[in-house]
């Protein structure tokens, strides 16, 4: 080995330093290499996708789905496919559940996945002490027994959506032996899963680097390395993709999306996703007046908003079910009709001279154009005789107000439902006993109540459609639009959009 004296070493160092400074980043961010760099729109607070508030944050499911596998997989069109379970179901009288665990799957540390891992994960999810935000969903099944690769369990209270949850939030299988050995802190430091990519390096608020899992049961992934850069500021994400520092980014302003997707070397895709922009209506004055509720709905030109404000990126809707959802009913229409709105209002004694007044709450910057959209709506309302005062809140305050039933008469929120089941959309949003509902009235409860545990699937879906129709007629909620997710990527890549909004690296490949 050649020995360098100190001066030579420093000289070499300085050269490396300068070249590192000038060319360092150019050398490492090329898309041609087998590295995929995603400028991501959210931070990853925790690697445990089954506990704590971050577990139910839809924005980071893409990362969880890369490292871990769900009990049941979900395709980009929201249909289900085998995950770590190859088959599943109820017995005939729906008192028992059964699941077949995939064999031949290994954890990232090389140890095999066993049915014990699955049972442990299910039981852990159902234990409120672990901090699973939807523990009571998981607690609806229990008393598991293992026979070979088959797990059988008792249904404690029938929940028709339990298997859908297995492909949804907190539905991840964690390694029992490893987790018990290293503990929560150790797991956060170096998490292992069965997923397509393996943990490599993590810097909070900055980046996460993953390596390909060569033993993945679904085949070796397309990239050797995947980097998630956590860039929460939309304009900064635009800069990331525009400067070529990142290969893919998402949730950029629509104007920028339109500009950049036409740019040389970049491409874009904008699929509708399971995110619904809506106005909660609270059962307080003046919303107790049906005329006001319906007038407020009829006065909104949703198509105009989507076209002009969102540059066409959005799907106007009149129910809480998006077209991809099981209980979507295309016949439910409310319609833009300012004349009718004026009539309805005048029937209740209101006019532009003597407008009905209430407050509308909205987030600002949580979703693209949320605040602008509310401004536009308030402008439309002003023309028919509704004088609404805008109040901006942040999402934490929204949750607090919603839980204590103190939302303003109208409140903007964005409802995500990646499994597309009516219970997790209309159900939780409109049932008075749910802490998430704003409109609380007995007539809706009477309709919804029996559907929670309806074992007959066809009857269940039909029931929910009826609920949605009734709600639309009564104007208990104002659904606005289904969001689309603008994704920008280098044109050397191919991106399969995901309706659930999770931009998983497995859906990206070299073209």
């Amino acid at each position: 080995m050649v020995e360098l004296n100190r001066r030579q070493a420093l000289g070499l160092g300085a050269a490396a330093f300068i070249s590192g400074l000038l060319s360092g980043r150019l050398a490492v961010s090329a898309a041609e290499s087998s590295t995929l760099t995603i400028a991501f729109n959210a931070n990853l607070p925790s690697f445990d996708g089954t506990t704590g508030p971050s577990a139910v944050n839809p924005a980071i499911q893409a990362i969880y789905r890369s490292i871990f596998d769900q009990y049941i997989g979900q395709k980009p069109d929201l249909s289900f496919e085998p995950g770590l379970l190859t088959a599943w179901g109820w017995n005939d009288d729906k008192t028992k559940v059964w699941m077949d665990v995939r064999s031949g799957v290994t954890w990232h540390d090389g140890t095999p996945l066993t049915p014990e891992d699955v049972v442990w994960s299910l039981e852990r999810a159902g234990d409120p002490a672990t901090g699973n935000p939807v523990a009571n969903v998981w607690a609806s099944i229990g008393n598991f027994t293992i026979d070979g690769q088959r797990i059988t369990g008792d249904v404690k209270s029938f929940d028709p959506t339990i298997f859908k949850w297995m492909a949804f939030l907190t539905g991840y299988v964690l390694p029992k032996a490893y987790y018990t050995k290293v503990g929560a802190a150790g797991f956060e430091a170096k998490p292992i899963g069965t997923g397509p990519y393996m943990f490599d390096a993590y810097e909070g608020n900055s980046f996460l680097r993953l390596k390909a899992n060569p033993n993945y049961f679904g085949g070796k992934p397309a990239f050797d390395t995947v980097v998630f850069k956590f860039v929460t500021d939309p304009t900064s994400r635009v800069a990331e993709i525009e400067s070529g520092s990142s290969d893919v980014t998402l949730e950029v302003p629509y104007e920028e999306y339109d500009r950049l997707r036409k740019k040389e070397g970049l491409a874009g895709v904008s699929p509708p996703i399971s995110d619904i922009g809506m106005l909660f209506i609270t059962n307080v004055e003046p919303m107790l007046d049906k005329n006001v509720r319906l007038a407020a709905h009829h006065a909104i030109d949703k198509a105009g908003i989507v076209k002009k404000l969102l540059r066409g990126y959005g799907v106007p809707i009149d129910t809480l079910e998006a077209p991809e959802y099981e209980a979507y009913d295309a016949s439910i229409k409310v319609g833009y009709d300012p004349k009718k709105a004026v009539e309805l209002l005048s029937a209740s004694g209101y006019s532009t001279e003597k407008p009905v007044k209430f407050t509308i709450q909205t987030t600002r910057g949580l979703k693209p154009k949320d605040y602008e959209m509310i401004q536009a709506i308030v402008g439309m309302w002003r023309k028919v005789g509704i004088e609404a005062e805008i109040e901006v809140y942040d999402i934490a305050k929204h949750f607090e107000l919603r839980m204590s039933h103190k939302l303003a008469p109208a409140a903007f929120y964005n409802w995500g439902d990646a499994i597309g089941d009516p219970t997790t959309s209309t159900g939780f949003a409109m049932f008075s006993k749910s802490p998430h509902s704003a409109w609380k009235s007995d007539d809706v409860d009477a309709l919804i109540g029996p559907l929670w545990a309806e074992p007959d699937e066809a009857k269940r879906i039909a029931g929910w459609k009826a609920v949605d129709k009734y709600i639309a007629e009564q104007g208990y909620v104002i659904p606005l639009l289904q969001y689309v997710q603008p994704i920008l990527y280098k044109s050397t890549l191919k991106v399969t959009p995901n309706t659930s909004s999770a931009l998983q690296p497995t859906l990206i490949s070299k073209s």
Partner: protein, 335 residues
């Protein structure tokens, strides 16, 4: 400063921190947006919610919560973050060094740039250039740091992309750092590739934070230098045949630097506050970035911890500034 006065100041610092703790504690308890509200399940019952609340100790009377928090603080237990579910002290320990490196880089930049501009301004007295420099400096004083950040993203990030836009380190670098002080550590290891990378990532946030600081320093220092330049000892030195540059640097600077230093101390703490937004824009993994997440998530223990650390930093910096000012002023050193 004598030993007793240092001791007195430390005692005062503890008292101040206690006050900071009390204020932030009370403030946070009246913040709407209950952390529990954000994590309850769709079908949770009131009993479930109460249980969660009890789990985080939010059901106790305020005074008791405060007392418990203080008691834990004495054991260096800052509590556990609700959103990140890890020890607050540990989290801050990981993030604070990034912010410290950034703010010190910005401080060094601010002092150098501001100092050079001030000296140049004094040398160019009564020339048209002075008016131009004063005007530009006045403009810079009116531009807040986040606007710089935005402008830099656009200019250096996109139009002329030479510096990385986000983060603290290129994710492709596979160096394992033993400490969270990346810059210091890579310097100590003579790992120049890493030093270059860390510095390249520092450039833009440093500029955004440092430019307003530089403007403030430039103006204050120039004023003080101008005052010092008309002193008798400068006249005498000029009569000894010293060049103007030397007059400014050797004769005036040390006597003028006092008020600038005190002000820099105050501005430095403003700058640490400024990291909250600038780190956000550059996705820089510092404590300011974490602070916004903490506020959004109403992560009470984390916010408390961060504010307390900010407060402690403020106090430490101001004691340090006073000590340096004493060092630079021989009158107090020997007086």
């Amino acid at each position: 400063m004598t030993l007793t006065s240092v001791f007195n100041r430390l005692a005062m610092a503890v008292l101040t921190l206690l006050g900071v703790g009390l204020v932030v504690f009370v403030l946070l308890r009246v913040v709407p947006g209950d952390p529990v509200a954000m994590m309850i399940s769709p079908s949770a019952t009131p009993a479930d919610i109460a249980a969660l609340r009890a789990h985080y100790g939010l059901d106790l009377p305020l005074a008791e919560q405060f007392f418990l928090w203080l008691r834990d603080l004495l054991h260096l237990d800052f509590g556990t973050s609700i959103s990140l579910r890890r020890g607050v002290l540990q989290l801050i320990g990981e993030r604070l060094p990034a912010t410290l490196e950034l703010t010190f880089a910005a401080l060094v930049f601010g002092i150098l740039a501001g100092g050079i501009v001030a000296v140049a301004g004094v040398l160019l007295r009564r020339t048209p250039l002075e008016a131009v420099m004063d005007f530009v400096n006045g403009l810079f004083l009116a531009v807040p740091d986040f606007v710089w950040a935005l402008a830099l993203v656009l200019l250096v990030g996109v139009l002329w992309p030479i510096f990385p836009l986000s983060g603290r380190l290129d994710p492709a670098l596979s160096t394992d750092f033993y400490t969270p002080f990346y810059l210091l550590e890579s310097l100590a290891r003579f790992n120049w590739t890493d030093v270059g990378d860390v510095l390249a990532h520092l450039v833009m946030p440093t500029l955004a934070l440092g430019l307003p600081l530089a403007a403030v320093i430039a103006r204050t220092l120039k004023e003080a230098l101008g005052e010092a330049m008309v002193q008798d000892y400068v006249l005498l030195a000029r009569l000894k045949g010293m060049s103007e540059t030397r007059l400014v640097l050797q004769e005036a600077l040390r006597n003028a630097v006092g008020p600038t230093l005190t002000l820099t101390g105050v501005q430095f703490t403003f700058m640490i506050g400024g990291t909250v937004i600038v780190e956000r824009i550059f996705a820089y993994p510092g404590i300011g970035n974490m602070a916004i997440d903490a506020v959004i998530n109403r992560d009470l223990p984390l916010i408390q911890g961060i504010v307390l650390v900010f407060g402690a930093l403020f106090i430490v910096i101001n004691i340090a500034v006073d000590l340096i000012a004493d060092r630079l002023n021989p009158r107090q050193l020997h007086g």
